[in-house]
């Protein structure tokens, strides 16, 4: 009797196992190449010549990632050099956990995208190939690239990364919540002071609505605010901390007052949670990268987006970040040309325009910026304006991540819990100096 029961169960397990394996195998085309489902068909079409398969990692997990997938698909179908790209996506934080061991164990992708803030530590450890010869590749026009976009990918005058996109941080506001608070829904704050004044008004405790929040893991908002008022983290050569300044004390005190005393928003909140609140219509204002727009549209929020607040209208500043193509040092030389084919495809006017308009990123190619469709797009044109004065901060500083998570995150969290701002800045000052040793 028991044997029968066991037999039945084993048969059931085997059946389930077969089913799962069938599903998995049947989808292996979809899985191995997250997007290139038509791979095998393409191979049948491009019969002559060998196929070069390139593995490609990046961190575009949000809506813009779907557009990226589509562009890669299109390249696979239309390129005449028999190149097939297999794309692999993981969140940026984990990308940085997974790429280094992959490089040292020889399982790294052929090429990848990398955030400008992460470039330095890879270069210092000899993990990336130089890409200066990209400028010699057919059809590539170096003069079409905006100077700052190239600077972000260059270290010691060697180009290690070719731009894939640039982004800055913008102010999004919920028009409905503004109206409910008695504010003009079409007029967002232009200066940080205006933002600090509007946030408490938009905040509505009873309906669980917050006016403004400072996330604990994305410090670009803090850095923007600090720099608008003339403060900074370190000196130009990254040899000394300058964080303990009266400008910074003033800025941090304002923020602390906003969150702790005026209760404009929750004290401890992560970046994604801030996005969720915005997407749920529970947050009046948020400062975030361009990708937030797509989420807001899906969630049918009545929103506006504009330049990040400033101190005043004459000295404008904003943070520029970028993402660029990189080639791990272990990639075979024979594949570099194929990689350059895709990189130049990406940096063409047609694709550059598509990425700008569909994904909402400001262009860094002059030919794309001059395109009338781009100029006439209301969201993108708003974003372009900021790129003109945005600058990368801490470029090529290899300890950026450690600075952010080990020093600034605890500082922000304690600040928002009400600890003494001058004390916090003094501690951060010491910690940064010992990090820089």
């Amino acid at each position: 009797m028991r044997n029968n029961r066991i037999k039945k169960v084993l048969v059931g397990m085997a059946a389930a196992g077969l089913m799962i394996t069938a599903m998995a195998c049947g989808n292996s085309n979809l899985n191995n190449n997250n997007n290139v489902g038509n791979n095998s068909n393409n191979n049948a079409v491009n019969i002559e010549g060998e196929i070069t398969t390139l593995t490609f990692w990046n961190g575009f997990t949000a809506a813009d990632g779907e557009i990226l997938k589509d562009i890669v698909d299109q390249f696979n179908k239309t390129n005449d050099k028999n190149i097939v790209i297999e794309m692999d996506v993981m969140p940026w934080a984990n990308f940085n956990e997974m790429l280094p061991p992959a490089i040292t164990s020889g399982t790294a992708p052929d090429f990848a995208l990398m955030m400008s803030t992460d470039l330095a530590q890879y270069v210092e450890n000899g993990a990336l190939k130089a890409m200066d010869d990209f400028w010699d590749y057919e059809g590539v026009d170096k003069t079409d690239f905006v100077e700052t976009s190239l600077k972000m990918g260059s270290l010691n005058d060697v180009q290690y990364s070719i731009p894939q996109q640039v982004q800055s941080f913008y102010l999004y506001w919920n028009k409905d919540l503004f109206e409910a608070a008695g504010l003009d829904p079409d007029i967002p704050p232009i200066t940080w002071d205006e933002l600090a004044a509007m946030a408490p008004k938009v905040e509505d405790r009873e309906n669980n609505v917050a006016g403004f929040v400072l996330p604990n893991n994305n410090h670009n908002i803090l850095y923007s605010w600090m720099r608008a008022y003339g403060g900074d983290l370190m000196n130009r050569d990254f040899t000394e901390s300058v964080i303990n300044s009266k400008e910074n004390i003033a800025v941090l005190t304002t923020i602390q007052n906003l969150i702790v005393n005026e209760l404009s928003g929750p004290k401890i909140i992560s970046g994604p949670e801030m996005n969720n609140m915005m997407n749920a219509g529970q947050l009046g204002m948020a400062i975030q990268g361009p990708f937030l727009a797509a989420g807001l549209e899906t969630n049918e929020i009545n929103f506006g987006v504009t330049t990040i607040p400033q101190m005043n209208m004459t000295e404008k500043s904003a943070i520029l970040e970028g993402v660029g193509f990189v080639i791990p040092s272990g990639t075979e030389e024979s594949k570099v040309d194929a990689i350059y084919e895709f990189v130049s495809y990406w940096n063409s006017r047609e694709i550059g325009k598509r990425w700008s308009v569909e994904a909402g990123f400001p262009p860094y190619l002059k030919s794309v910026a001059a395109d009338s469709d781009v100029i006439n797009n209301p969201v993108v044109s708003e974003l372009i304006e900021q790129i003109n004065f945005a600058e990368p901060i801490m470029p090529v500083f290899s300890k950026r991540r450690a600075l952010d998570s080990d020093i600034i995150t605890p500082m922000v969290e304690q600040m928002l819990q009400g600890s003494s701002v001058p004390e916090l800045l003094k501690t951060a000052d010491e910690q940064i100096n010992s990090l820089l040793k």
Binding site: N27, N32, D88, M90, N276, G295
Partner: protein, 274 residues
């Protein structure tokens, strides 16, 4: 009499309360996996929505490579179960039934490894796999787990209970040692093997840190590692994550429904890690 009735009622209420707080989150997860994206992250939040969709289960295959995760988890956990069952049983049989020189020393060695949690040596293990070029491979995931002290311990305590002299009669019949093991011993301990297998399957299916460490690319991730990376990031789509979570727990729950007895036995014999 009254106090015992009150006690009865109170304990029933307590148990029903516990049942609710166990069942509710799973119910909520299931319902959420069928909601439209904008209904999942919405305010005010609600358990039920007006419309539902299968979209998330369709999207789960493209937004997250869930089927790859599932396949990897099956191969990893299944591979470990198959190999470790054999290797553990072999060793356990020898320790339990054969007197050989150094038996106690070797067994003590095995016991010692039981006290070494993976986290303690995960860094050198990672470096070792790196150097052996086994990172991001099925072999790299399965090899270190092909033998386990707790499995050997479990099987040994079962072998010890089999009647003595079972081997003697078999030897007289002319069977060699391997045949004695495979034809006589093994068939007798089917329940123990099943218990150990289920325990091993469950532990490895659920494992997060070990596969997280030893795989790099998305295609090699297991369910736990893959889903863990989707939380706390700028994730656009919660729907597929909900659907993915359901798919990740479903296989073990279904297995549990059919083989509850073995799960329970396995838990008793091992005291799972926290």
């Amino acid at each position: 009499m009254k106090t015992s009735m009150i006690r009865e009622v109170l304990s029933k209420i307590f148990l029903i309360f516990l049942l609710l707080i166990i069942i509710f989150p799973f119910f909520w997860l299931l319902v959420s996996s069928f909601k439209n994206e904008k209904d999942i992250i919405t305010y005010p939040p609600a358990i039920l929505a007006l419309t539902y969709t299968f979209d998330n289960y369709v999207k789960v295959r493209t937004t997250i490579p869930l089927m790859a995760y599932l396949k990897n988890t099956v191969i990893f956990a299944g591979g470990v179960v198959l190999t470790s069952s054999l290797i553990n049983s072999l060793a356990a049989y020898a320790f339990a039934r054969i007197k050989f020189k150094g038996r106690n020393i070797f067994f003590f060695f095995v016991l010692l490894t039981m006290m070494m949690p993976f986290q303690i040596f995960m860094i050198p293990l990672f470096m070792q796999m790196n150097k052996l070029n086994l990172l991001d491979t099925y072999a790299g995931l399965i090899l270190p787990r092909m033998a386990s002290a707790s499995g050997i311990f479990l099987m040994r305590s079962f072998f010890v209970t089999l009647p003595k002299d079972l081997e003697e009669s078999a030897r007289i019949d002319g069977l060699n040692e391997l045949q004695i093991f495979s034809k006589i011993m093994l068939p007798l301990c089917k329940p123990a093997i099943l218990t150990m297998s289920i325990l091993t399957l469950m532990t490895n299916w659920k494992d997060l840190l070990y596969p997280l460490l030893l795989t790099n690319s998305t295609n090699m991730r297991t369910l736990a590692a893959g889903l863990a990376l989707l939380v706390g990031q700028n994730i656009f789509a919660y729907g597929p994550v909900m659907a993915g979570t359901i798919i990740s727990i479903l296989p073990l729950i279904i297995l549990y429904a059919f083989m509850q007895k073995y799960f329970v036995q396995g838990a008793i014999m091992s005291g799972l890690k926290e």
